[in-house]
Amino acid sequence: MSCERYRDALAGAAAGGARPADLAAHLATCPTCPPLLRRMEEALATVDAALDELGAAEPSPRLEARIRQAVAREAERPARAWTLPGWPVAAAAVLALAIVGWMLARPRGPERTPVTVAGSPGAPPITHAPEPRTAPAPTVVAPVHPSPPALARRTPEPARAPALEAVVVDPRDQQALRRYVAVLKKRSLGPDALLVAGPAAPLAEPQDEKPLELTSPALDSVLPAEF
């Protein structure tokens, strides 16, 4: 361990630097460091010899003429507009087109609307707001329509008219919502007891986290306990 702390000083001494007094004292008593110092000095002598050969390297006799020709070609090259390498320009164009296409094709409806559940007319709407932070983008699960075929179809449909508000559900709640709808269908509840559209107000960031509450009396009697 004591030799290790002299390693840098040994290299410095081998490179022609001064030998501190403590290094000299160590070298006088250590059996391993003097040979290491000699090896370092020999290595540097080899390095010097190898590098000195670089200074003797000669180019081919035609290098100068070759450079002159290249420079002459450069000087004679006709002026032309700036050209850019092909593939970066092509990639940028494709990316720009993709962004424009996406912007044109994306749905125009509100990105976040509340899920409103009404059990019976007059019952207070139940709104489930997504969790703050890290909440994935809500997914349109099904269009809300007062007719049974629309409920059975459960296919996304863009909101075209105010009467056809889409239900936007937090992805984490989709499974529960599907089960919920299945139970309603199983109990042969009419569409009036099912999902209806509420006012399409954008979701505000929830101030506090509240679990989904189902308070409709008509639904309480048919929902399984897990709801």
Partner: protein, 189 residues
């Protein structure tokens, strides 16, 4: 396609704006080519250890110099300027070569050329490769000083002038480089 031609093609895309120097500058540049072509080659050769590649780089750095020659205010600094261009071009070329693993193929060709009767030459070449690898591992600031010191016959004042650095900085960097090489090669060479 020859290497030089490939280099020209690359430059055609990189430097699209044509440059034409005034006749006086043109003549001066030709003089610079005559006096400094060897220096550019040696700097590139020191980095690349491949004469063909070094000539390509020498040509490349003169083309770059030609493009910027009219903007060089202090013409007395041309050699230092050219050395730095050559070193930078050579480093870039070396990285590209490593990426393409060309240097391995070249080493393989060299090894196949070796015959038993040339044992001394092979051993010498092996040592040079080890030394070269150790120099390549130096940080660029230490590396350029080490190589230029060798090229300029250890005239550190000239190295300082070429690199536009104080002589003391050159000395300390060279000492650091030699310490690193001593530690690295003590048990290898």
């Amino acid at each position: 396609m020859r290497k030089g031609e490939l280099l020209d093609a690359q430059w055609t895309t990189r430097l699209a704006a044509p440059v034409t120097l005034e006749p006086a500058l043109e003549r001066e540049f030709e003089e610079r080519v005559a006096e400094s072509a060897r220096l550019a080659f040696r700097v590139a050769q020191a980095v690349l250890r491949d004469a063909d590649e070094a000539e390509d780089v020498a040509q490349e750095c003169f083309l770059r110099a030609y493009h910027a020659f009219s903007s060089l205010r202090d013409r007395e600094r041309f050699r230092g300027w050219l050395v730095r261009i050559a070193f930078r071009c050579a480093i870039d070329r070396q990285r590209a070569l490593r990426t393409r693993r060309r240097h391995e193929a070249a080493a393989d060709r060299e090894a196949r050329r070796t015959v038993p009767s040339a044992f001394d030459q092979a051993a010498r070449r092996e040592i040079q490769q080890k030394v070269g690898a150790a120099v390549d591992e130096l940080p660029e600031k230490l590396r350029v000083v080490t190589l230029l010191a060798a090229l300029q016959g250890h005239d550190l004042r000239e190295v300082a002038r070429l690199l536009d650095l104080p002589e003391g900085t050159v000395k300390s960097r060279l000492h650091l480089a030699r310490k690193a090489l001593a530690r690295r090669l003590a048990d290898v060479v």
